[in-house]
């Protein structure tokens, strides 16, 4: 092939650059926030819910004029809920010059991302990336594996288990508890915390089973339900999320299993339609939010989200994303910069006007502190159970509210703070 002469090839290059410059003018004006989540595979529906939440809150900010004169732009990336894929995706977003990322489904992915981010930030202090974690609640992320650029907006496993076991300790009729969890860092930490805290608070309660099953693979929980039945358990404690909790509860319902379920994630993300009448009074969850915690702002938010996404498989669920976007934008405005280091220094001292009560970020481990609720599945009555979940006619009613100051746990985190 004949080589073009130097003059023509440089003219060609100039033309291409001009074309590109005209074709992509707007991108320099937005603040990109990458959304890293499993958008395909067994947890795709959960990933899509988070994306809708992020889009909803980013749009609200943009309608008011954006941040520092720029709009927020959400850029989704599919991690397939796999730690290996997440690391590849992290490289992609770094290459694209994105400085902020958000993730929450899967602590295994979160740990991989936090590690990749830590290495990248250490080697490239002028191209740091900030990680907002809205749902990966393995305690290690704010303890031994903490990182200055990682901020967690959902209460961690131990904080929620403390609330859950305090409530369980008051249930005098409970004698036998069965643990069933997903076999990875998060599920194992739930099982460990449940065991330790129950033994401490109610040594008379017997733990009659401790199962760990593969994440997202089991479609038929009937064998596990048969095991729970055979063990004679009164209560089941599970951290399962997505299909894993929906199918577990479905199998329990089919077998007519009469136990109380103490869950982390049965209140949304596709599970409530599976449960029905059988769950009333028996299905409990421990969360930082549910649609009936009360307050006019809660009502406004639940209704606004429903109006924006009328599909019945969707409800306002992640207040952690709401607080994350709020803190991100106010930190940028306070620091008058979009540089992640300056934003992080502002974010770690930030308070938020959330829907539930006193909400602030801890500067010693970057864990958000907020009230925690234990609630039970009940029939929606328009009064104390105003909203139902996912159009089922059933919603959650608060059993116990734990104030922020009572949720704080000690930490082993020692940050490597950035210089300056």
């Amino acid at each position: 092939m004949p080589k073009p002469s130097n003059a023509i090839s440089s003219l060609g290059r100039l033309a291409v650059m001009a074309a590109l410059a005209i074709a992509v003018p707007a991108s320099a004006q937005t603040i990109k926030v990458a959304y890293l989540e499993g958008l395909s595979g067994p947890f795709a529906n959960v990933g899509e819910v988070g994306l809708r939440h992020l889009q909803f809150f980013a749009d609200r900010i943009n309608e008011k004029g954006g941040v520092l004169g720029q709009k927020l732009e959400v850029v989704p990336f599919d991690t397939k809920t796999s730690p290996q894929e997440a690391q590849l995706v992290f490289k992609q977003l770094v290459d694209q010059g994105i400085r902020y990322m958000m993730q929450g489904n899967g602590s295994a992915v979160a740990l991989a991302l936090s590690e990749a981010m830590g290495k990248h930030n250490a080697r490239n202090p002028d191209k740091t990336v900030l990680y907002m974690n809205y749902g990966a609640v393995d305690p290690a992320l704010t303890n031994d594996k903490c990182n200055f650029y990682h901020f967690r907006f959902d209460a961690d496993v131990d904080m929620k288990m403390q609330a859950m076991t305090n409530f369980m300790a008051t249930q005098k009729s409970m004698k036998k508890v069965y643990l069933i969890n997903q076999d990875y860092s998060f599920g194992q930490s739930v099982a460990k915390a449940a065991r330790a805290m129950l033994n401490a608070k109610r040594p008379d309660i017997q733990i009659v089973g401790d199962d760990l099953h593969p994440l997202g693979k089991v479609k038929d929980f009937a064998p596990y339900v048969a095991k729970i039945q055979a063990a004679g358990a009164d209560a089941v404690v599970t951290g399962n999320w997505g299909n894993d909790v929906a199918l577990l509860i479905k199998a329990a319902k089919d077998a007519g299993l009469k136990v109380d379920f103490y869950t982390y994630y049965a209140g949304g993300l596709g599970t409530p339609p599976v449960i029905g009448e059988a769950g009333v009074g028996h299905l409990k969850q421990v969360t930082v939010f549910h649609s009936n915690i009360g307050g006019s702002r809660t009502v406004e938010m639940v209704e606004a989200y429903r109006k924006r996404f009328p599909d019945s498989r969707d409800d306002f669920y992640w207040t952690s994303i709401m607080v994350a976007v709020d803190m991100l934008t106010r930190s940028m405005e306070q620091a008058k910069s979009t540089d992640p280091t300056k934003v992080a220094l502002a974010m770690e001292k930030m308070k938020s006007d959330s829907l539930s009560g006193e909400t602030y970020m801890r500067d010693d481990n970057h864990q958000l502190v907020q009230p925690i609720f234990v609630s039970t599945f009940s029939k929606a009555n328009g009064k104390d159970v105003k909203f139902d979940v996912e159009r089922t006619g059933f919603g959650f009613k608060t059993d116990a509210r734990i104030e922020s100051k009572d949720t704080v746990l000690p930490t082993t985190c020692k940050f490597q703070r950035p210089k300056g």
Binding site: L39, S40, G41, P42, A44, N45, E48, D183, G209, D211, L212, H213, P214, K217, V218, K219, D220, A222, P223, Y224, A226, K227, Q229, A230, N243, A246, L247, D254, A255, G256, L257, G270, P273, R313
Partner: protein, 315 residues
């Protein structure tokens, strides 16, 4: 006792569903020597077609309509896809079905989205059929078992008692002779492929509402079906039946055993060092390993007896 009976029933219903799926695959493999990677995708399509039909017409029409639609798709795949690729050899056929599986998954994403669809058990079957001591056994599982057994019976009768069945059986081993006798063997192949796909589709109709109907269902079920076919022996329907029941039992019963190599060591009187790197391996219980056991069995079978339990054709 209660636990054993309930688990036995569960393993039976799961095993029979596996058989419905793998029988189609075995038939196709015996006939054409093609291991159809898209077979689990036909299962998924059956579930989605059933969902869509049940939205407009209800569940009972879906039982007939969905497998019929999948059969048509199967016939088209064979006629215009496999037959063209056949002349390039087995590897080409495998790659074709492999690619087809991906295409079907993406089509499902496009049409129905990535989230699970609310394909539910019909109200009329959503009750508990009987109680085993204190556990209720759902009527729908009984229905699943009845359909599987009915289908097995129908298939057996078709293959052994009807003329077309005799032609199919003959084409299995002596296609050239059958063609020489004047039968349209390519049409028989197409019919068998369509029939195998319809079986997978029927399994999807039945299984899709008991388990979750979502785009990932083909992948999660596909691998187990191969285990069944390899374990039972390539080309043997009876082998597939026995293997399905065994794999179903293994996967269901193993959940009950909380014993690990560590407990075995304890019985033998020695405790390994808790800090050792192997500890993670010793601690794994059979219950934890339950989903992996079928694959372990498959590997063991391939080592010990590659033909499978009752195989008639070398893999």
């Amino acid at each position: 006792m209660e636990f054993f009976l309930v688990t036995l029933l569960n393993s039976l219903s799961y095993g029979l569903l596996l058989f419905m799926l793998s029988s189609g695959l075995t038939l196709i493999f015996s006939m054409m020597g093609v291991l159809n990677f898209a077979h689990a995708s036909f299962y998924m399509l059956g579930a989605y077609f059933a969902y869509q039909t049940s939205v407009y017409l209800g569940f009972w029409p879906a039982l007939v309509v969905a497998p019929a639609l999948v059969a048509v798709l199967g016939a088209l795949t064979e006629r215009y896809g496999l037959r063209t690729v056949h002349k390039y050899g087995h590897v080409a056929e495998l790659l074709f079905t492999f690619g087809l599986a991906y295409i079907i998954e993406e089509l499902v994403h496009l049409i129905w989205g990535r989230a699970p669809v609310p394909y539910r058990i019909p109200e009329i079957l959503d009750f508990s059929a009987f109680s085993v001591f204190s556990t209720k056994y759902p009527a729908y599982r009984v229905f699943m078992m009845l359909v599987s057994v009915g289908m097995l019976g129908g298939l057996f009768l078709l293959l052994t008692r009807t003329r077309i069945g005799l032609i199919i059986q003959a084409s299995l081993t002596h296609p050239d002779t059958v063609e020489a006798l004047g039968h349209n063997v390519p049409r028989v192949f197409m019919g068998v492929f369509a029939g195998g796909a319809a079986l997978a589709g029927l399994a999807g109709v039945i299984g899709g509402n008991a388990f979750v109907t979502e785009p990932g269902m083909a992948v999660s079920v596909g691998t187990i079906v191969f285990v069944v076919v390899v374990f039972g022996g390539m080309g043997s329907l009876a082998g597939a039946f026995v293997a399905s029941l065994i794999i179903g039992a293994v996967q269901t019963f193993s959940v009950a055993f909380d014993v690990s190599l560590l407990t075995l060591f304890a019985k033998l009187g020695f405790t390994p060092d808790p800090q050792s790197a192997w500890m993670e391996l010793w601690k794994v219980t059979i219950a934890q390993a339950a989903p992996v056991l079928p694959y372990v069995l498959m590997v063991a079978m391939l080592i010990v007896r590659p033909k499978g339990l009752m195989g008639t054709r070398e893999g």
